[in-house]
């Protein structure tokens, strides 16, 4: 019985893996083929990988784009984890009517499509450029700032805090920890699942972000990977082999971040105390 269950689990997971990975296989194959073969739908690996890599790196500043993308994704993710977890914790643990109202208002900010905010936001950063140029238009910080906190992550941390065992807080207070100390020494370690999940999502969102970097960044030296990929397709006769090479390179970091952070999806401290 148990064996059957395990077998069917593996079976279902293998099918799901196949369905999930098929496009990646296709991408990997395409990066080894010539453009013509890619558009003709060739499904066999070719011999063009080195050429594709060479012409990608020779003609485009992939290194700088990778640096910019990493910089944006890492800084935004770290700041986002700190600011959002503090807020999510604050809203749930120190719950009050006033804070609930503030929380509901914050959620409202998620409900408008970003395209509608772009023009006013651009004007705002145009103003910033006049006074604080290093935060203004055409800087990486202008890309990061709107994503340091979004209501999405505050909401995520708040919902997860609902599953956090409050007795631990009392225990911490008895041990003489400060309120911030409790957050750092008790809450953060026991919520590492949530931090890992939020870290993955934030990294991914910032890494793949397109619309906002597109309008706020102008010069090639601040270009990010998604912008570079978009430019690769800008021609009437795009080179699909090179495009897929860039796409694969652009996909690897997020996949790795996930793989390393998913290890933290293990039983947290709060679970073992809960009864």
């Amino acid at each position: 019985m148990n064996k059957l269950k395990l077998f069917s689990t593996y079976f279902i997971l293998s099918i799901a893996t196949l369905v999930s990975l098929f496009p990646f296989l296709w991408m990997l194959i395409s990066m080894t083929n010539k453009s013509v073969d890619v558009s003709n739908g060739r499904l066999l690996p070719g011999t063009h990988l080195i050429e594709n890599l060479k012409s990608l790196f020779e003609n485009y500043n992939v290194g700088s784009a990778l640096y910019n993308s990493f910089f944006i994704a890492i800084v935004a993710t770290i700041l986002c984890l700190i600011v959002s977890s503090l807020a999510g914790y604050g809203f749930e643990i120190y719950r009050s009517k006033g804070k609930d109202i503030v929380f509901n208002i914050l959620l409202l900010s998620l409900m408008i499509p970003f395209a509608a905010l772009m023009v006013p936001l651009f004007r705002f950063f145009g103003g910033v450029s006049q006074t604080i140029p290093f935060l203004g238009i055409n800087t990486l910080f202008a890309v990061i700032l709107p994503y340091v906190t979004t209501a999405f992550f505050v909401f995520l941390f708040r919902q997860n805090t609902k599953m956090f065992t409050r007795e631990l807080i009392e225990a911490g207070r008895i041990d003489g920890l400060s309120e911030l100390g409790i957050f750092i020494h008790i809450y953060m370690p026991s919520m590492k699942n949530t931090f890992a999940a939020a870290g993955i999502i934030s990294f991914m969102n910032n890494w793949n972000n397109f619309l906002w970097p597109l309008v706020i960044l102008q010069s090639p030296d601040v270009q990010t990977i998604p912008l570079l990929i978009s430019n690769l397709g800008s021609g009437y006769s795009p080179d699909f082999g090179i495009i897929y090479t860039a796409i694969v390179i652009g996909t690897i970091p997020t996949a790795l971040v996930f793989f390393f952070l998913q290890k933290y999806f293990v039983e947290g401290m709060s679970g073992s105390v809960k009864g």
């Binding site: 145009g126 055409n138 010069s219």
Partner: protein
């Protein structure tokens, strides 16, 4: 778990430090835009428009040693978004000095942002350029755009398939779309190959079909919808539907499958702009099997076997550096005959500057097209392109027609289709 916090703060610190150092680097780039010493240009397609700008810069700097052009490559849709966001926010911060805009969109930009573009009337002579390029690039008697490439259309044909079915390229020369369909049915029957590849979700063929008749989806003023009683639109819709119904059309769903349709040898003909040539030549094994003939016309009075698809022009933004940018464009694309020779011979771009449309480079035989003088032919057809005002709403009108085309295919009557499209356009376009 201090480890986590420690890790966070260390990484943060490192990033902050490296940010300071890198920011100083990128900042100089930001200043470059407003700095009048260097001129920035936005364009799409590295092998075509960007390459053309690079050639122009090379020519120009021979005489103007301290001129410095920074060309920034962006996809066309990206440029449209960046430009709209920037211009409508009112901050000219970060905008380029020179920008390439597709002719279909030009009027919309010129009218939406009245003071954003610099008048080029004093720098170039509009009569030097192909007639059909002038309505989209000028407004209120002022010439804003420097007309650049032509989107002259042609019908690329596979000679081997034609032969197999007992036809020659001459049989497809100067024909109407009705004749095209008749021949297509026969060829498809005999060879098993589809005659043409279409994407009903993006029926760009309708655009150049309608222009063969010198008509457009909006009237002379560029805003009034002109669909309901427009014989050309009616004719084009009917032809388009018939190609789908007679089963002579291969269906593509996007750019790459469109390119695949001819690279893989699935279709007999490709009707499109001359900028498709490099994509057709990309499949080297098909060398010698292609020819280009004039694009079919609509059977409407006055229609010509010549039309345009796409094509774009350069514009100067009204920001510091405008004079410098204007002089550069005037001295290169507005004047330099030699440059146009190089554009043809080095990147295969055909301009619309009339004094420079002949000479060595234009008379080359192309072995891929069986020795045909392709460029000469395209230039001759270009002179025939009917002059049309693309107006303000090309893409909005196209979306309305795309929606109605779907209804038409599923059984709605053509008169109703056009009337409904007209009504919808009148409500939407103003």
């Amino acid at each position: 778990m201090k480890k986590w916090f420690l890790l966070f703060s260390t990484v943060l610190l490192i990033m902050a430090l490296s940010a300071c150092s890198s920011e100083s680097g990128s900042n100089s780039g930001a200043e470059g835009n407003s700095n009048t010493d260097s001129i920035t240009a936005w364009a799409w397609d590295p092998l075509f428009n960007v390459a053309a700008l690079e050639l122009a810069e090379k020519q120009y700097t021979q005489e103007n040693k301290d001129f410095n052009l920074k060309i920034i490559e962006n996809a066309q849709s990206d440029i449209v978004q960046k430009l709209n966001t920037g211009l409508s926010s009112g901050t000219m911060n970060g905008m380029p000095n020179i920008v390439l805009i597709e002719d279909y969109r030009a009027q919309s930009f010129l009218k939406s942002y009245p003071n954003a573009f610099y008048d080029m009337s004093d720098y170039i002579n509009e009569e030097d350029f192909a007639d059909y390029k002038i309505p989209p690039t000028s407004l209120g008697g002022k010439q804003y755009g420097v007309p650049f490439d032509t989107g002259v259309t042609g019908l690329y044909v596979r000679t081997d398939y034609l032969e197999e079915a007992g036809y020659t390229p001459e049989d497809l020369t100067n024909i109407t779309w009705e004749e095209f369909i008749e021949i297509g049915k026969d060829i498809t029957k005999k060879t098993g190959k589809k005659m043409i590849s279409l994407n009903p979700n993006e029926p760009d063929h309708l655009r150049f079909m309608v222009q063969t008749a010198g008509e457009w989806f909006t009237g002379e003023d560029g805003t009034t919808a002109n669909i309901g009683d427009n014989e050309a639109v009616k004719n084009a819709m009917r032809v388009y539907k018939e190609m789908l119904e007679e089963d002579i059309a291969h269906i593509n769903t996007d750019w790459s499958s469109r390119i695949a349709s001819f690279n893989s040898g699935e279709v007999v003909t490709v009707a499109t702009g001359n900028w498709m040539t490099p994509s057709i030549k990309a499949e080297e094994s098909q060398s010698g099997k292609w020819k280009v003939v004039p694009v079919p016309k609509l059977s409407v009075e006055g229609a010509k076997n010549a039309s345009n698809l796409g094509g774009s022009s350069f514009y100067v933004l009204n920001i510091p550096g405008k004079e410098k940018a204007a002089e550069f464009l005037a001295d290169t694309f507005g004047n330099d005959v030699e440059l146009y020779q190089k554009l043809v011979s080095e990147i295969g771009a055909i301009g619309t500057y009339l004094p420079a449309l002949e000479g060595e480079a234009f008379n080359q035989k192309d072995e891929f097209f069986g020795g045909q003088k392709v460029t000469t032919d395209f230039v001759n057809w270009m002179r025939e392109i009917p002059r049309v005002n693309y107006g303000m709403h090309t893409y909005a009108a196209m979306d309305i027609l795309t929606g109605e085309l779907q209804n038409y295919r599923t059984g709605k009557k053509l008169e109703e289709v056009l009337n409904d499209a007209q009504k919808q356009a009148e409500a939407q376009l103003n």
